[in-house]
């Protein structure tokens, strides 16, 4: 609960601040808080990814972008009624959706009764890999991971095409 309160406070700070440098740093704080939440939920793999990508790489990228633009957000031209309306309605719909979710940690949900137990029981006999997350990602769901790698590859190609290749050292400047 404390973590979620801190998350909410950070989000409010991000919305209210106009200094983009502070916003980027608060974004990193938000990522670390989310990573801690994942750790509390016993998902260290996801927590590690969130801390490394969200708090580390994304922050550096955003700082690199800030270097190219202004560091102060412009004042909105008219009162922001439509955005507030959209976020309130979306938030209300999401909260309404959570009412149908099973209680937290309940063992008889599909996620714990469908295919999860098979992975937990078969990972050692099938592959000898004790970290079930690794064996699911690479063996049982190897095809999905392949798709993930292709997505990352495509993202890299896309940025290179949009921004142009980084200049060769020594050619300019």
């Amino acid at each position: 609960m404390g973590l979620l309160t801190l998350l909410a406070l950070t989000a409010v700070g991000i919305v209210r601040l106009r200094n983009l440098f502070a916003v980027v740093i608060l974004g990193a704080v938000y990522s670390f808080l989310i990573a801690t939440v994942f750790l509390v939920l016993d998902a260290p793999d996801v927590a590690m990814t969130e801390a490394a990508v969200g708090a580390g790489i994304a922050t550096v990228m955003l700082l690199a972008v800030l270097h190219l633009t202004k560091t102060e957000e412009g004042k909105p031209r008219q009162p922001q009624i439509l955005p507030i309306f959209v976020s309130v309605v979306t938030g209300a719909a999401l909260i309404y959706g959570t009412w149908d979710l099973p209680p937290f940690g309940s063992p008889d949900t599909p996620v714990h009764t469908h295919i999860g137990p098979y992975y937990l029981e078969q990972s050692i006999p099938d592959t000898g890999v004790p970290n079930v997350v690794a064996s699911v990602l690479t063996t049982y769901r190897g095809f999905d991971t392949l798709g993930e790698v292709i997505v990352i590859f495509t993202a890299g190609i896309g940025v290179l095409l949009l921004l142009g290749r980084a200049r060769r050292p020594g050619r300019k400047q």
Binding site: I57, V60, S135, L146, V149, F153
Partner: protein, 139 residues
């Protein structure tokens, strides 16, 4: 950045440990949290830290743009290629049991390690390529 002696010394001390931790996360992923993706990000972070402290050109001297772009493609190709190899041995796509190794558990682990190398290369390459593209524009 030229006068920040403390930053430079600390970075010099930290970067080898960050890189080694990245490879630990990679090769120990069977037993502990982690994997090629997380390892790729950590290894890329080591290079990015180097670029932040010592300058982009120094980093590009050690890890050239060409190598980074090559890594990105080679990583994806390794992953795709393992699937093709399992085809050639008569299995389904990415069916590591088809690899010509007697012990089925070992064949799974060999397959996992090989595709994780592909993931590591692709992620490190993609992140560094994006970083170089953004940071290179500021000059």
């Amino acid at each position: 950045m030229r006068l920040d002696v403390i930053l430079r010394v600390i970075a010099k001390l930290l970067i080898p440990f960050i890189a080694v931790f990245g490879f630990y996360v990679h090769f120990h992923a069977e037993y502990s949290p982690g994997g090629g993706f997380q390892a790729g990000v950590v290894v890329a972070a080591a290079v990015i830290l180097y670029a932040l402290i010592f300058g982009l050109r120094e980093a590009e001297r050690i890890v050239p743009v060409r190598v980074v772009e090559l890594l990105m493609g080679v990583g994806a190709l390794i992953f795709l290629g393992i699937g093709v190899i399992t085809w050639l041995y008569g299995g389904n796509y990415l069916d590591y049991y088809a690899l010509p190794i007697a012990d089925p558990q070992i064949s799974q682990q060999v397959g996992i390690i090989l595709i994780e190398v592909g993931v590591l290369a692709a992620v490190t390459g993609a992140i560094l390529a994006i970083f170089y593209a953004f940071a290179g524009r500021g000059r």
